[in-house]
Symmetry: C2
Subunit: 189 residues, 2 copies
DNA sequence: TCGAATCGTTCATCTTGACGAACACCCCTG
DNA sequence: CAGGGGTGTTCGTCAAGATGAACGATTCGA
């Protein structure tokens, strides 16, 4: 969860439920997780019960033992069914008329992971300046053909192809055929 | 940073540099950030110098004051470019031959967020039992036509349509046309 | 040149998290 | 019905984090 704005809920409650959920997800006992993490079983018990305010080292050890990204433990959940019809999502501004990105999913106010539908026409390649460090973009080409990836060395994608690249360097999306469509997942790690 | 695997570097060093970098990025004094976060300025000083092992509450308060996502303070990790050609990814087992899911991205070893490419033929709908609570699935239809969503009330999708639904209830993917293709993002929140 | 203000650091004190042993509880077995 | 192995909990002790005041260093203006 983002500290800055977003989830205003106290992180300790979230951590408590996250720890318990992730532990039960992999079907381990409290004692076993505590042993793997190198923390006292009583400590983990208290954390899962909501009392306690773990140190970073403790929480880190637990995230390693549970094989869960660190930040994930401090991230509330919120799932509902949501449908966005083709072309109905909020379009993202684009200088070129031959590139339209539709925002499909933006997780809580400030996203850790956004999902876009991109439809592009051959023309000026869409160049993006580097984003924040820690951003990764995943692109799956649905239709057409495109050059995608880091600006210095883009990759030619065909339908079904997938590419992931760091978002903190300049990157590009250049359609090579009319009606090129792609799904883009941008996540802050 | 991912706790599980990934950056094996001790989180405390990362936190130290992150705190200092983010503070200087917005040009605030140590005392001012400490005041906004409601922590002692001595505490912040020690944290930035690398000594200390902050509690979650302390780090949370600082992340709020600095307007930085919580997990980002503990996140070195630099991603690399990765490409998977159509049909080359690891296919996921499926009882029915008319449903193939290709795993495109599984974040560090064990995923909190997986990306699949699904290609399906009309026939037996693919039904999934409920997963753990906290799972959300996002589907963007690339080609064809499909019924997708929670089992009791699936939604008919056309190319470009998007749907998100909780993964902790029974859900379904039923192709209505030959060569139906979709991108599926499954995330554990 | 003095003084005021701000910077970041260091120190003694107190609070609090982490620990391990002991505990109550449940399931299964002999 | 005892008893062993497993679960998760509670409690006293100790180390460690958080605190505020005091400190030296720096800048700026009278």
């Amino acid at each position: 969860m983002t500290g800055g704005s977003g989830g205003s809920r106290a992180p300790l409650d979230v951590i408590a439920t996250s720890l318990q959920r992730e532990r039960q997800r992999i079907g381990l006992s409290l004692a076993e997780v505590a042993r793997r993490a190198g923390v006292a079983k009583s400590t983990l018990s208290q954390l899962e019960s909501g009392s306690g305010n773990p140190s970073v080292e403790t929480l880190w050890a637990l995230s390693v033992a549970l094989n869960v990204p660190f930040g994930q433990l401090v991230q509330p959940q919120r799932p509902t069914v949501q449908v966005i019809r083709a072309g109905e999502g909020p379009a993202v501004a684009s200088e070129q008329a031959d590139y339209v990105a539709t925002l499909l999913a933006s997780c809580p106010p400030n996203a850790r992971r956004d999902i876009y539908l991109i439809s592009a026409q051959p023309g000026n390649p869409r160049e993006s300046d580097p984003h924040m460090p820690g951003v990764v973009e995943h692109v799956v080409l649905s239709a057409g053909r495109a050059l995608v990836g880091v600006a210095e060395d883009p990759v030619e994608l065909y339908p079904g192809d997938y590419i992931a690249y760091p978002g903190d360097v300049a990157h590009v999306f250049k359609a090579l055929e009319p009606d090129t469509v792609a799904v883009l997942v941008s996540e802050h790690v």
